[in-house]
Structures are given as C-alpha cells and as structure tokens.
Amino acid sequence: MQWFDCHAEFGRRVVPNPIQCPTAGALAQLLGAIGVGQALVTHAAHYEQHPAVGNARVIAETREYPSLAPTWAILPPHTEEMGTVDAFLSAMAAAGVRALWAYPEKHRYLLDMTTLGPLIDALIPRRVPLFVKVEGERWQPIADLLRDAPGLRLVCVTTALWGDDRFFRPLLARYPDLLLATSTLFVEGQLPPLVERYGAHRLLYGSSFPDRQPGASLLPLLHCGLPEAAIAAIAGGNLRLLLAEARI
C-alpha cells in the first residue's frame, strides 16, 4: 500500500506533545517506521507562531525530505500580512506548495467569503485544496463557507470524539468538492457507508499526528471490507491526484 498521510505535523509546540517530532527528519523517520511513505505536512509554527514564519520554515526544513510535501497557512487577504493574493499565489508556485491550511479559530478570523473571498475566488479555479480542522462540533462555519463557495476543494479534519456523521453527511451529499480526512473517523463501521454513498474519492488517509497515535488509522482502512482499489485510493491515490490537479 502506498500510504500518503494528508495531515501530519512537525516542529516544537509551545506545550510539548509527548511524541511530537521536532524536525522534518524525525517525522519522516517516524512515518517510515510505520510504513507510511509520504505525508502532506504542516509546521507547529504555522498556527502557534505566525503563518509567515511557519510557511518559511516548512519549506526550508522539508527541502531535504522529498517524502514530505509542504503546505502553507493562509490569513485573510484584507490585512495583507501575506501580501496580495496574486503575490501569495506566485510565492506558493515558486515554493512548490499545492495545498493550504486555514486556522480560523487560532488566528481569529471568520471562515467565510466576506473574510476570505478574494483568496478563495482564486483557489477555486486553480483547484487548490484548503484544509481546515473542525474544532469540536462547530460545523456551522463549514456549512456557511460551502454554501457561498460550493466549488471550493475543502478537506475537513474532524476533532470530536463523538461521531459527526449527522453534521457532515448532508454536506457531503450537497457539495461534491468536500472531502474528509480519515484520521478521526473512528466510529465503528463508519468508513464503508461513506464510500458507498459518496465515493472513495471523498476520503483521504490521515494520521493527525501528533494529536493522534501515528499508526492508529492504518488498520481501520486496511481491513474495513472495502474493495482494494477503494482502499488504495483513500490510502494515498486520492491525495496524489488532488495535489496533481492543483494548478498553481
């Protein structure tokens, strides 16, 4: 299986996690030790220090590790902390970044088109995926964003211990460009019906490391009873395609 983790982090957190990886090399080694060959990665500085710092560090520190694909964090264009939208997209292209993260709660902005419109309007035709963590059960901002930007490729990483099917299934049904990371889809029997109803292409394998045990979400996918092609797509094929389709 060619695993490609859609959500793993390296870097030192302000409050250290017991098994965090301080460097890109440590993360590459850890993922390799559990059989995961590639990962789309963030740096702790993305959300704890400042996106501009994290974006620079993730590029510099993954340079020697081709198995780690860097992502960048966004901020609302209106404050121009990340430059103009055009300048930001040009810098992304130059750095080889093909996916973005939004941290609206941590960075204190609204995840909506009033706030992010100029940037999201540029991401939609370029098919650049935007990742966002759904804090607790706060799905309303996700629903609002998708209502106003239905063509956005949005990847949601859930965080709640309680299953969120009643929140996300209606959104999966309405918005074909909404995807979910599997890292916290750990309700028993949750994956197969999602694939049967919405398609394997809507799910991306993720570990959510270091917030979750790095290998915990391997077995639920490998032995969920889905056809091998669907498992391979979720394990890594979908993410490879998603990144390849991003036109930056």
Binding site: G35, G163, E188, F209, P214
Partner: protein, 265 residues
Amino acid sequence: MSRMTPLVEAFLAQGKLAACPIYDLHTHPDRFAGIYFPAPDVDGILRTMDRCGVAKIAIAPHAALLAPVEGNDLTFAMLAAHPDRFLGYLVFNPHYPETLDALLARSLETPGIVGFKIHPAMHDYPLTGAAYQPLFAWANTHRQLVLAHTWADPRCDAVACRTIAEQYPAMLFLLGHSCWGDFPRAIALAAALPNVYLELTAAEHVPGFIEQAVRGAGAEKLIFGTDLPWFNPHYTLGCVLFADIEDADRHAILHGNAERILEVL
C-alpha cells in the same frame, strides 16, 4: 527504527490474529441518541468482533445506562443469546437505589455477569456518594469488577477513585478511560494499588499515554477497551500496536490481563 514487530506485521496483514485474541472489557452496544452508529445491534457487534479478532466483550448496552429500571434486560438477553462471546456488566443508577438489591442478587445467579458498570458523569452522581457504597461493599466482599466512567471531573477523577479503591481493596476497580485528562494521577493510582486497573478507551488515542502508563503502572495494569461501537476496535488496536512498547506488553493489554482477571471472578 521500524516499529514493525512480527505481531504488528501480522495484524496489518490479516486484521486479526488467533494467537492474540482480543478481550474488550468496555463496550456499549445499542443505539445512542447523540451519535449515528452504522451497526450497533447484536448482529453488527458480532460482525465487528469477527472482523477484528475480538474473542469476547463485556457489555453495558446504552439502554442499561439510560433506562434506569428496565435497561439491564437487554444485557440479560444478549448474554443468553451469545454466552460464548458476551460477558456483561449490570448498570446501577444511584438515583434509583431501590433497584440495587435485585441487581446484586441477579448478578450472582446469571452466568456471564462479571460485575457492574457505573457512570458518575452521565448519572451526575459522585463516585464517593452514599448510594454507590453498598455496591462497592458487595463488590469488595465478592471480589467483583466495577467499571466506572472516570475523567478529569470531580465526580469521578483520580482523587475520588483513590478514595474508593483504598476503602474497598478487594473490589477489582477498572478506571474507565483511565481518568481521561487526569492521567498522571490515574497512572500513579494503578501503580500503587493492586486492585486498580487502567481501562484504555479513548485514553489510548492520546499520543504517549500508553507508553507512559506501561512505564508508570506496568503493562499488567492496562485493560483494552473501545466503547464499541463508539470506536472501531481496529483504531484502538492500532494505538496499542504502534505504541512504543514491547510485544509482550501488547499481548498483556490485548488479552492476557483480561484473561487473568476473568479467571479470578
């Protein structure tokens, strides 16, 4: 360094392993209003067990937690139907103390009942409250299991657990969720008192917890649990398999400790 020990590789390849049968001592079959579960009924639970190599589970169905008088009937029915796969906890709701005597009597005469499940948070009643004490005294006399929901919550945190565990030293006390959020004190408690065990449901998701618990309390004090159907047993199993511990520890957590405890009941 690779974490692919022979045990881990075998589980990854097959999804289950006859040489390592799993005993899950914390499950809640049945529907639940707050979550959509695809297959929480008896047939679904059995299919899950077969897929994941789970030999036996100890059940406290949601009905038993939420229907104070008649809810345990589902437990009896499930035990009668599948005595080879299910063990059972009876649920005691301390707001209905008049139900306790009948439950205690039935527990001893019903094959497969291994003890009681209590939920101080859901029932909003402290572990140290008076209504629980007759149950604990009985468990102490009969050396029975009590699985308590425990959390970083004054009603059921490690301080409250220590009070009860010291007062009833022969009661086999499973700290459900290992006092989630109050881990250091829960680990210290399990290390100090022979009758206290750390049950892993949800706690094992927290990176580093299993390693800390094994080093602090010993692998022989950790009990595998999933809240099934809340958590996919394969996810929980993955937490144990990929923790930085030895295969002997994994065997103890996944089945050895439960087998040892169930033998003495």
